[in-house]
């Protein structure tokens, strides 16, 4: 429960969609698979917030800092950062 409370939404940016990106289901499954490799207590389907696949590749997921660090080290990941709030100007 505590680990779950520590989770924040992170963005995992992976660049251009790959040639084999497929549709939403394929991308979502691939991203969930990546997530499952790092998640300690949560299920990937509960953690995944968005699968970006139409114009670029990546996903947003609820992670703790440790899980985010592990994802940042995975092949195919450009950057991982906390989804912060921007403001209207």
């Amino acid at each position: 429960s505590q680990a779950s409370d520590d989770r924040k939404v992170y963005v995992v940016y992976m660049g251009k969609p790959s040639e084999v990106e497929g549709g939403f289901s394929a991308a979502s499954a691939r991203h969930a698979n990546m997530l499952q490799q790092v998640l300690t207590t949560s299920d990937a389907s509960n953690s995944l917030v968005y699968s970006y696949h139409r114009s670029f590749s990546g996903f947003a997921a609820r992670l703790n800092d440790d899980e985010a660090r592990k994802l940042a080290e995975m092949e195919g990941v450009v950057s991982v950062f906390v989804s912060e709030k921007k403001e209207l100007h």
Binding site: V9, V11, Y13, M14, G15, K16, P17, S18, E19, V49, Y50, Y52, H53, R54, S55, F56, G58, A60, G76, V77, V78, S79, F81, V82, S83, E84, K85, K86, E87, L88, H89
Partner: protein, 625 residues
């Protein structure tokens, strides 16, 4: 808007309808009020065939042939705040920006008679697609990226996002920079607000070179609100006051004399009209004089019938308040205070606002964020400025004028300020250029906007290009720039290699085998950018050569001569100094050597290519960082 497009000389041209109607403007914002007259679809045919988007319609939200798409993105659960899971705008901001960029012509638009005129966007015949990313608790990166992901794939032509973070981020750790990069890859220019954290130096946070960063400046219409005192004197304050008080005098009280002492406040706190600091028994039915600008809610909730505020800041922008209000500068404020202290029964009245011509316009407003760019010092930001002060445009009727407690005014048009308001002017202009030149790249369109901008003067903005970039948006000339500084994805990749990004990351971003060891790493100063910035660490003589290439989009056969302007301390040499073109699309490269010894903080200059028809102007800035 009812004035800003006229102010820039862009008049309505009915013949533009067919070309503009193929252009789709993507608005990433708070959603939209679809019932606004700015978005009715009378005279519009079906969406262009390239459109792949959708309308997340529900029982009370529908799109039409003007508003062709609407989606919403919410990664966190909705927890109050008036948010509804719909593209419907409950805030007003997204409706305002959308109508500024691409709203229909609407006659007799005003805010209770203020700013009366025909409202319009930059491209009234273009289509609008909205992507709601902002809610009562802000705009999350995850939602922003989801919207970019869809907008790019949906087929929009230009993206507008009047949103930003508190500090600049590395390019691939910034949702807007990432989204704008992939938009650029797909031929879509992203227009982005500079931010409202000025006038301090280095306050701009949206700085990616593949997007357009827009500062905010004034137009020649200024809202003033007269304050009349019981002694017959009158002072002109700055506010948008829609209220008409009775034509009589009301008791005036100094907030410092009305502390809510039962709540622990004394006069030294209540004078600023802090929340809860005023004694209702003392201010009820009176006009309260406060020593600082606020949002007016303290006075309103305390039963005051109006408020007069004095403040040394925000003298160049008129805010709207939920009760009769006027803001005075300290000079006028001190006179009001003297009057308060000179009589036992002080009285005042606050008149409804009127407008005056502001002959000093345009200048960049104080709140507009300033350069230099802290991520890449040698890329000048902001890129240009556009109208962003006291802009009247459409509003959501699910919101009130100020969205503050006690404000019940529901209106179809509202007057607000921000780089949020300037950004859609640049968006609309980019869409306007795109309608003339559908094949131009985002960089070419951006170049057209920057090199045709009206030059501005440091007499009104001492921080010069750090306030206004290339100058003031000029929609009429932007469609015919003569030359453009074009750039494609590979140019930005070379730039990113030069910025130290790894080959591995860049090959992921591009999806190919981009390798920084295979391409010439481009120094920031050599990105084919329509402006020149040279940062210096010390105040010694520095020299640098900038490489540029221009593409002829003007007359097929033409000869351009370089005109250099340089302030003392700056020496600029262009080689060759004459460019001769024999065909459209022809590219010619040249170098610009800048030698500078910066005595002060910043030295300005410019390079203008002149063929007798076109003036292709780029600002040059040297500064000590």
């Amino acid at each position: 808007t009812t004035r800003s497009w006229d102010f820039m000389g862009l008049l309505d041209e009915a013949s533009r309808t067919r070309l503009e109607s193929d252009v789709i403007v993507g608005m990433l914002d708070t959603g939209i009020w679809p019932e606004s007259k700015s978005f009715t679809d009378e005279g519009f045919g079906p969406p262009p065939p390239k459109w792949k988007g959708k309308c997340q319609s529900s029982s009370n939200f529908t799109c039409n042939n003007k508003l062709i798409g609407a989606r919403f993105y919410r990664s966190n659960p909705v927890e109050g705040g008036g948010d509804i899971l719909s593209p419907r705008d409950t805030e007003g901001h997204g409706t305002h920006t959308s109508s500024t960029a691409a709203g229909n012509l609407v006659a007799q638009a005003s805010l209770f008679g203020l700013g009366l005129g025909t409202s319009r966007g930059g491209v009234p015949s273009a289509r609008v697609a909205v992507y709601k990313i902002c809610w009562s608790d802000g705009c999350s990166d995850a939602d922003i990226l989801a919207a970019f992901d869809d907008a790019i794939a949906d087929g929009v032509d230009v993206i507008s996002i009047s949103v930003g973070g508190s500090i600049p981020r590395e390019y691939f750790k910034d949702s807007i920079a990432i989204g704008a990069f992939h938009a650029m890859k797909n031929g879509i220019l992203t227009s982005n607000s500079a931010g409202n954290t000025g006038p301090g130096s280095a306050t701009i946070s949206n700085v990616s070179p593949w997007s357009l960063s827009v500062a905010a400046s004034t137009i020649d219409r200024k809202f003033v609100t007269k304050v009349k005192l019981g002694n017959g004197k009158a002072f002109e304050g700055i506010s948008v006051n829609t209220f008409q008080l009775e034509d009589k005098m009301f008791p005036l009280i100094y907030a410092g004399d009305a502390p809510n002492s039962t709540a622990g406040f004394n006069g030294s706190l209540s004078r600023f009209c802090f929340p809860g600091s005023l004694d209702m028994n003392l201010v009820q039915g009176k006009i309260v004089f406060c020593d600082e600008i606020g949002d007016g809610t303290t006075a309103l909730s305390s039963g005051a019938i109006g408020t007069i505020m004095q403040d040394a800041n925000f003298l160049d922008v008129a805010f709207v308040f939920p009760l009769p209000a006027s803001k005075l500068d300290l000079n006028a404020g001190s006179k009001v205070f003297q009057y308060l202290r000179s009589t036992s029964n002080p009285e005042a009245n606050i008149e409804k606002s009127t407008t005056i011509d502001d002959l000093s316009a345009p200048f960049v407003v104080s709140f507009s964020s300033r350069g230099p760019n802290q991520i890449t010092l040698d890329i000048l930001k902001p890129d240009l400025t556009a109208p962003g002060v006291d802009i009247l445009a459409s509003w959501s009727e699910d919101a009130t004028v100020t969205s503050l407690a006690g404000d019940n005014r529901v209106v179809p048009f509202n007057i607000i300020s921000g780089t949020s308001m300037s950004c859609p002017h640049a968006t609309g202009t980019a869409a306007y250029v795109k309608s003339f030149h559908p094949t131009w790249s985002p960089a070419a369109i951006k170049s057209a906007l920057m090199t045709t901008a009206f030059p501005m003067t440091p007499k009104l903005n001492a921080d010069a290009e750090f306030a206004y970039g290339a100058g003031h948006l000029n929609p009429v000339n932007a469609i015919n720039p003569g030359l453009v500084y074009d750039a494609t994805e590979i140019d930005y990749i070379k730039f990113l290699c030069g910025q130290g990004f790894s080959t591995n990351n860049l090959s992921l971003v591009t999806g190919d085998q981009s390798n920084c060891s295979d391409v010439r790493k481009t120094a920031a100063s050599d990105l084919n950018y329509p402006s020149f910035a040279l940062s210096i660490k010390t105040r010694r003589l520095v020299s640098r050569v900038f490489h540029r290439t221009v593409t002829n989009v003007g007359l097929p056969v033409s000869t351009y001569k370089a005109i250099i302007q340089a302030a003392p301390g700056l020496k600029v040499t262009v080689r060759p100094a004459t460019l001769s073109f024999s065909s459209l699309g022809q590219k010619i490269s040249f170098t610009v050597r800048i030698k500078a010894k910066t005595a002060g903080k910043l030295i300005s200059g410019s390079l203008t290519w002149d063929d007798g028809v076109h003036l292709v102007r780029s600002p040059i800035v040297t500064f000590v960082n």
